[in-house]
Amino acid sequence: MNGDAFRVRQIDLGSVCADADAGDTPSLSIFWWKDLPLGMRASLPDELPYSEARLRQFAAEFSAAQLAARSTPLGAPLRATYEGSPKSALCLTAALGAEDLVGRLDELATASSASAQHISVVICTRDRGPALAECLQSVARQRSAPGEVIVVDNSRDGSARPVCIGFPEVRYVHEPRPGLSVARSAGIRESRQDIIAFTDDDVEVHPGWTAEIARAFEERDVEALTGLVLPARLDTIAQRRFQFDMGGFGTTFVPLLFDRRFFDETRPSGAHVWKIGAGANMAFRRSAFDRVGSFDERLGAGAAGCSEDSELWYRLLATGGTCLYEPRAVVFHHHRRDWPGFRQQIRAYMKGHVAALVTQYDNFGDRGNIDRIWKQLPAYFLRTFVKALFEGPPGRTRILAAEVEGWLAGLQFLVRFGWRKRRTSNWLRKKIDDPQGAARTIPVSKSLSKRSDRRPFLP
């Protein structure tokens, strides 16, 4: 099971009735109904090809979940539960009254044709030429062209410039100061449109990506949006471990609303904002940055590790904003191929997570963040360890070791008082205490214009 590469295949349950798979390799099947992603399932060769009955079962179960999550008469929209998963709000009367389900599903699966001219796509990259080229190609194939595409080159020597020359519609920006947050802030500064959509250089976006983002912002009054991140390939053991054991970048296929209630419910353990989505597929209204500031430069790849995205969502939710997870906006992520790289990534995730918890504590004084560092995370390590010993999956302990290392490395941020003093949001707390102040928005463009400003979102 460890040895074989998994084929990643796409199956449209709306048109396929028999699975033509040869059943010779294990595969991760991603199910769609036309343009609507429904769900996914990993299977070994013995379980393949799927029988007709199996496909019908998948279609019935997945699409019932979609209908319940997307049809207002059936209880939509769904709020995220404590676990960050959907909880159906379907009632008996609605279920009995629902007619022509396939017709409704067809409607839901209609691809968005919304214009994306008001969207700025920002791609931050660092020394990954070939991957970036693929990413830009996928952006160029969008059904609805975005208003602009900005590549922020975070390399020292501007190595992405030659790649970008091949794409005339791309605006190239060089930001030599290292750090993903720095680069993303530079992207925000350079962008001109109302909605800013971020993706990464190791991602290929679905042709409907921008159109779906545009539609979601049109239909819903939310400040931030995240989407579905699917694996592009599962060739190596590192990629499969990341996807299957660590859950990849999420496996939820129905839209979820993350709001103040979710924040309050999960607050005692540090508000589970990381469940909202992934930086590889997220978008914001510009006004969101005006309201709570940009990404914290102390966090993110190239700095503390990661979680710069979730820390920003934390600020949004803590101040009354809402984030929508809309899996119709799909990207395909190339997970790290090599084991050391994967291990490094897991370590960085945990380190960055601890750093973000410290930051969130400093910003808002929520004790839950510290409790998570000292209580919940060690408990999680212990639980995972015992479970890995007896139940597996094999190799889980090695990943756990990287997580523990990351946690230990992250503890330094608790005592790096200089680091902590460079806090992001003194003004933010002031705004919470002073509701009048909260009404005033801080023009982000002004505060971000000074490049030397280490805290770009402070007025």
Binding site: P45, R56, A64, S88, F390
Partner: protein, 407 residues
């Protein structure tokens, strides 16, 4: 103390449920257009009334999602009908020992559904497994078209094998004598057959027949024999469980299972050293599920192929049953480890996992001071240890002796 079992149809207006004074809860069997969609146990005050509103809110919470899935399934099926492959002839095999009354109850429930089935022919074979008196034979005589077979060697798997060889159907469906079939039992099996050409076997839903005693309620609360209301499919390997198919208990239970008869004959039938009655009353179903999957044929779990099982009545009987589960599981593992060398690592893994899981459950019961769970847990664990320590070999010797005595 006891729960009233109520069968409700959700597609028509709900009527309130009134409890008799001896009832202090309800076991709700929920259907949508006849299709089973859920089962819930609800504790209430004695002689209480479960109003239509309360029923509706339970349905909102528990059954509405399954209704939507069932509806969607129906629409998809209408859009793309399944090819009408001819169904095999069916033999229903019932193995029984000294339980004429229960046998009559089961035969009665079968009588009412035998007519008008989609199967080209249905025969019923009753294997009388060395009953001490003639009451079983007499009970069978009161029903029409039932084949009576006497198996003198005591042991459930002797009886199952006798049925296998006496039956003539292409498909053989085994029932224990302590069940009653659901009214859709045959239709569910027919549906599963049509939907899954090539399947080696089928298992189905097992719901409680009665929840009259503390032991029955306790057992059903802990999950009973239920394997849920979702169809499932099992193959030789499984992505989400590295130990599969060694943990074949998830497939279902021996009281309601069906197989391609030719396959079963070619596999050599049931292992007679398992399921031998009092000394080792379990493991035979695990073993046959496992061997079918290992032969490369899939097995299907179909919730509409449902029976109602009469659970153990007393706490002492239930405690003994937990003991036998541990015993049967380990006897099965010891046997498989010996006969199927290829999967040795998985058998070892399963033994580790099983003991870990049961110890975990024990620790939880101890922490929460749940004395009964603790006792049952210890019984099961002890059964496991005893089973691991040579029970399969002891059973083989016993079975050999029975064979010689009945030569």
């Amino acid at each position: 103390m006891g729960y009233k079992i109520v069968d409700i149809e959700l597609s028509i207006p709900l009527a309130p449920v009134e409890l008799a004074p001896e009832h202090d809860g309800v076991g709700l069997i929920a259907r949508w257009q006849g299709r089973l969609v859920g089962f819930e146990m609800i504790a209430l005050a004695s002689a209480a009334i479960l109003s239509a509103e309360q029923l509706k809110s339970i349905a909102d919470e528990r059954f509405a999602d399954r209704i939507l899935v069932a509806k969607m399934d129906k629409e998809l099926l209408r859009r793309r009908p399944v090819g009408q492959l001819p169904l095999p002839s069916l033999s229903i095999a019932i193995c029984t020992k000294d339980r004429a009354e229960r046998l009559s109850r089961l035969l009665g429930s079968l009588d009412s559904i035998r007519l008008g089935t989609a199967f080209p022919s249905v025969e019923v074979v009753v294997v009388d497994n060395a009953s001490v008196d003639s009451s079983t034979r007499e009970a069978v005589g009161r029903f029409k078209d039932v084949l009576y077979v006497f198996e003198p060697r005591p042991g459930l798997d002797f009886a199952r094998n006798a049925a296998l060889h006496s039956a003539s159907g292409g498909l053989i469906a085994y029932l224990d004598d302590d069940v009653v079939v659901d009214r859709n039992w045959l239709d569910g099996l027919a549906k599963a057959c049509r939907d899954n050409p090539g399947a080696g076997g089928f298992t189905g839903l097992v719901l409680p027949l009665r929840l009259d005693t503390e032991a029955q309620i306790f057992f059903e609360r802990r999950g009973g024999f239920g394997r849920g209301f979702r169809r499932n499919e099992f193959h030789n390997t499984r992505f989400d469980n590295a130990l599969h198919p060694v943990g074949s208990g998830i497939l279902g239970a021996g009281c309601n299972m069906a197989f391609d008869r030719t396959l079963l004959v070619s596999l050599g039938g049931f292992d007679e050293a398992l399921d031998t009655g009092a000394p080792l009353p379990g493991g035979g179903d695990l073993d046959i599920f496992y061997r079918v999957l290992r032969s490369g044929r899939p097995m299907i779990y179909e919730p509409e192929y449902a029976v109602y099982h009469e659970h153990r009545e007393t706490i002492e009987q239930l405690r003994r049953q937990y003991w036998t589960w541990g015993l049967g599981m380990m006897a099965f593992l010891v046997k498989s480890r010996r006969t199927d060398g290829e999967l040795k690592a998985r058998h070892r893994g399963m033994v580790c996992w099983w003991f870990f899981d049961r110890l975990k459950a024990l620790a939880r019961a101890a922490r929460k001071l749940q004395g009964r769970d603790l006792r049952f847990g210890i019984a099961e664990l002890w059964g496991g240890i005893y089973g691991l320590a040579g029970e399969y070999d002891r059973s083989r010797i016993r079975v050999q002796r029975i064979r010689e005595q009945n030569r």
